[in-house]
């Protein structure tokens, strides 16, 4: 059983690290490559929408990865590389979009839902006490019980 769990854990861990980068795309310097990957993971693939550019197999995205790596190799900071992409593709390209009026709902929805859920749960649990005092038996019921004895 433990072996099964271990296998599942390993599979999930590997699935999380899915990468589309091919060996010839990678930077020679492992430190720079790690930085480029970290930047790429923050950039959303404009072609496939639901993946980062590090995970996407699209030909177009490959060129975006190449650009990120070129800029990292040229000594650009993380912020400069992200800015480069943001100025061309807007908030869409950032997997972690900035907090501004058009994204307030996006960022605050979990907190709002939790708050409403909490209020709801609070009132629901308070209204009905779990252990209500049972009503005493009526005279007729008492008589019936006596009759059974």
């Amino acid at each position: 059983m433990r072996a099964v769990f271990a296998a599942i854990a390993v599979t999930l861990a590997l699935a999380g690290a899915a990468r589309a980068v091919e060996p010839d795309e990678m930077l020679k310097d492992p430190q720079q490559e790690a930085r480029a990957e970290a930047i790429g993971r923050q950039l959303r693939c404009p072609v496939c929408k639901t993946e980062s550019i590090e995970e996407s197999d699209a030909d177009f995205t490959k060129d975006l990865r190449k650009l990120v790596r070129e800029q990292v190799a040229a000594g650009k900071t993380d912020a400069q590389v992200l800015d480069y992409m943001h100025s061309r593709y807007g908030d869409f390209i950032l997997l972690r979009p900035p907090f501004k009026p058009s994204t307030w709902l996006l960022w605050l929805a979990p907190a709002i839902l939790l708050l409403f859920g909490g209020i709801f749960a609070f009132f629901m649990t308070r209204r009905r006490p779990a252990t209500a005092e049972p009503e005493p038996l009526t005279a007729a019921e008492k008589a019936a019980v006596e009759a059974l004895k």
């Binding site: 404009p46 072609v47 929408k49 030909d59 177009f60 060129d63 975006l64 650009l67 943001h86 100025s87 061309r88 593709y89 807007g90 869409f92």
Partner: protein, 179 residues
């Protein structure tokens, strides 16, 4: 008060339906990424010509008159569908500049021979860098650039006759009267 509480889920549901139905009914395509480049000057670029053509395309060519910039490629299937619409625009004397995205030049020449060449000039964007500067995420993509060299409109989908009649021509006419 009690009754209000019972109606609440219904109200929330109605709210959600309205929120999702509005863009659906208005025909907003969620796969289209809004471009931050609208109303901004065209990116600075200079692309070489395709073999056999006298000149390529650079940002300097995009000033002085209202023009269309069209990103295309021979490998792009919807570009073929769009080709007749571009030829129709050419017939209307609307200048179209082309950016040939990540293409083999020989394939591009073949494509233009087969479907016609609606472009004033074509720049060969061999490594796709200039397309990315334009915020493109595929092909075809069509931009309208005003006389001051600012991007005023973008469509990230093939142009249809309907787009020409209802969007492109009215906008170009309006931009031509702008000073």
């Amino acid at each position: 008060m009690r009754r209000l509480l019972f109606i609440l889920p219904v109200l929330v549901f109605v709210g959600i339906v309205v929120y999702f139905a509005t863009p659906l009914l208005r025909g907003i395509d969620p796969s289209v990424i809004p471009s931050p480049l609208i109303d901004k000057p065209v990116p600075a670029f200079a692309l070489p010509p395709l073999p056999g053509y006298p000149k390529g395309l650079s940002s300097a060519d995009l000033k002085g008159q209202v023009q269309i910039v069209n990103i295309f490629a021979s490998w792009c299937v919807p570009c073929r569908a769009e080709a007749p619409a571009l030829m129709a625009l050419k017939k209307m004397n609307i200048p179209i500049q082309g950016i040939d995205q990540k293409d083999k030049p020989a394939d591009a020449l073949e494509y233009l021979k087969e479907l016609g060449d609606p472009y004033v000039s074509i720049g060969a964007d061999l490594d796709r860098k200039v397309s990315i500067d334009w915020g493109a995420y595929g092909a075809p993509e069509t931009f309208i650039v005003d006389a001051n060299g600012r991007i005023r409109f973008k469509q990230a989908a093939p142009i249809t006759q309907d787009d020409i009649d209802n969007t492109i021509v009215p906008l170009i006419n309006r931009l031509r009267t702008e000073k």
